[in-house]
Symmetry: C4
Subunit: 280 residues, 4 copies
């Protein structure tokens, strides 16, 4: 049982908090395992409840299981609030908000029929699974991914604005060329078609029928072909740089004079004090 | 109020021009903000006007708003022409042409019914938004993107000519194999199908029905699979090089003894020979 | 005839095993060639048997060929078991399991009609073709590929969990927005639609019909656009590193004076300090 | 008029050959230009001839133009054969075969109605356009592309075999799960569906209808998602390396002692003789 200095919680709160929030004790691990099983069950119940034959056959039973789970998750939420070292910090954290959102629709369904479908938001709670498995490694990988995305945020913004402008112009042109008779019933609908085409999804619920429309659509597709390459290039270059930064952090050479770490693989002298470095 | 040397505009033209063209004064920023709101409104009006139920209910009102906006934008265009230091340069610039194209369809609609749909070109005016937000950073990102595209223009041309040739041959073969009875009504239509297939859009409005046609289509798809990789590779390599060039431009220090370039911004000594570097 | 030390098989088992398992003798190569021909034939027979007109015309004949091939492959399996140096190791190896799976459905079809379709698993036996062709080179390429995939397994896991969470949330939202009347009959069906959309497959068997649904679908598509870039970036960076590792493994020379690695295969002097390099 | 040593052609053959094969004289350039115009015309005629309304209205006229063009191209082919320095080499070259294939269907149509559609193969002749435009630069770009593809041929083969095996297995499973009642009429058709799905084309002419089928299809799509990344990664890495090789070839530093070219940008000493290099 660890108790950080300056912690003013009562003993039972510290003990319970270690079970609820940590998973380095057998009790903590058992708690997390039971939780994951309950979350998976609750997601399965919400999904089955939406399938008509299942609902017809087992509707009331499914509702009861949902209620029991909502009550259990409410209990867990209260437990977390009570045992957290800083309850307010927990309530405002990502997982705190997800935990709250996972129980609210259950009570909302008492007043608004159908609101129980929103319980599917519980799927977000599954992200806790990273905590139970090899936490550190996966989160460092996730941070490489998010770092790569953040580093290219400006490029992605320029890219998105260009795509949205393009899609609006192409949509308006197709509305003029094809018109409501061929399924392009309005400019917003035509923009929807342009997005479906440029992203190469291509449902085919709306498709050009006039020769001119097919020609413009062909142009848009070949354009989309090239445009698809841009975000891939951006993310790849960002990932390569983030990977390089991570590699350097892992290179274990330390300057013997000033103690600087993180030297390039080809460095022979410390870039801060000029001392010769030990060979890698 | 800034007045560059050699400027022969009257005082009121300089003052007004600073409001209209710059956004480093409160008045200039307010002008730009009002403009963006008006542009967004005008795009929304053109879109709503194309949705049948809206037009039926609010048609005349939408028309009036469109007219007011067209008049306001005309006034703005005249203002820009009058206060620009070189009116002719402005009129021929990208934004000058877009500003003109944004008002012409409004007047054209007096003679050609339906021409008001072309007002959607006003969406291009939204690109001004980059001016108001962190201009410099985004434009430098955009220049990395366009530099990357320009650097690989020759490769992209070779690629496009190859794709167009391929698409024509595949289209003609499918026209022979499937024929008009299966929806491949002509060679141009078949080429349209080939483009839809090779870009992996795949509407499904035309699809092969004979075994031989399905076989050729399968080949085309797997080919398209590999071909899709080429522009992505081109853009990624170009982006990586453009990024490298930009990086090197930011740290232009050279070791005075061994000539090594590309030092980290925080480096004080050359990592290769240990010589002290000039401060950045 | 090679006989490794410590091998306690009888002489005829060693001789037969060399024919069955190796392809460095004319007999071994002939055996492999006949095998490939039989495998291709058997796959062709299973395919043709599934095409209704063929089955109607040649059903009994196809069945007989299938039986003969199943018996031949059973014989081959027994031969491999008998002549292998470690029969149990062979039986548990990848190819051992594939060989067993390739004959079981033939016998299963005696009791369960239709089970012969499972004979298509024989296609996996075709992977032996790599053994006959330039084995070494292709397998080293395959190992670069699998190494690249293994190196990015953690990143791919994070990515897959994110995609599955996203797809569940989007699917549930679309079920709420569009509902069973528009084809989104249940949450699992809506998740299927979300996967079809995010992977840009876009069958169009289910497509949004309400304006709000089309808006959410557009968002999902543009998101999918960016998400598509992540696995590509991961694999590209991993491939580049695996390639780099392979390159360095091929030229392991180090400069004796300055310690520089990664010299070109034709280099005789260090390009950094001019020292003579040890010959490769 | 250039005449290489050892050329035994008569004077008029050399003169005509220079016009027909080269484009460094005004006559040669005019010849090429007329040729391109004729090729574009002939492709346009074949395309228009396949559009039913055009054929109905101008059928006989189009036929006549086709005949005149076929005769002109036949004349050109004979001219090339006669004036080429090595007629047999020309006839077997890529462009020689294309030139022959571009006239054969015209004569074939006398006996087999409809064969004139094959005249579309003339589109390949358009590749000559590279000769007329900035030849050298584009061809060097194309050679970087083909070099990149050749370098990764082994990887692409491993990849294609994997995809084909996967597609056969998935197709057979879907045939078992969905069956002819849901459109999966045979294993080849199901394999066609699997290719359409894995390449993310997704026509929707065949789509899974049972829950189990939709589940397997979802798995296949997410798999296809990751698989799509592999060829892109392969081509990108190959392109980056081919680009690097080209860059080094363009680096103009020459060793002052032994004359070796193509030094790395960071090289300070010649890797062949150890001499100090001039700084870049």
């Amino acid at each position: 049982m660890t108790r950080p200095p300056g912690d003013r919680r009562a003993g039972w709160r510290v003990a319970l908090g270690n079970v609820v929030f940590n998973n380095d004790t057998p009790a903590g691990r058992a708690f997390d395992l039971v939780l994951i099983v309950l979350i998976v069950t609750s997601i399965g119940v919400v999904m089955l409840d939406s399938v008509r034959p299942f609902r017809a056959a087992y509707g009331p039973a499914l509702k009861q299981v949902e209620w029991v789970l909502t009550l259990l998750f409410s209990l867990e939420y209260l437990l977390r609030l009570v045992t957290a070292r800083h309850p307010w910090n927990y309530a405002r954290s990502f997982f705190g908000l997800v935990d709250l959102l996972s129980i609210l629709p259950g009570y909302l369904a008492l007043f608004v029929p159908g609101a129980e479908t929103l319980l599917i938001v519980r799927v977000l709670r599954l992200l806790r699974i990273f905590r139970i498995l090899k936490l550190a490694r996966y989160l460092s990988e996730a941070s490489v991914l998010t770092e790569a995305i953040r580093a290219s945020a400006a490029k992605i913004t320029v890219f998105l604005v260009t795509v949205l402008t393009l899609v609006t112009i192409i949509g308006a042109l197709m509305y003029l060329i094809e018109g409501p008779a061929n399924g392009f019933t309005s400019i917003p609908t035509s923009i929807y078609w342009a997005i479906v085409t440029l992203t190469t999804v291509g449902y085919g619920d709306i498709a050009p029928k006039t020769p001119l429309g097919k020609g413009l659509a062909s142009l848009a597709m070949i354009l989309g072909y090239g445009i698809l390459a841009v975000p891939t290039g951006i993310v790849t270059v960002s990932l390569a740089r983030a990977q390089g930064t991570q590699d350097r952090r892992l290179t274990p050479r330390v300057c013997p004079r000033c103690g600087l770490e993180g030297h390039d693989p080809d460095a022979r002298f410390c870039k801060r004090c000029g001392e010769e470095l030990p060979s890698a």
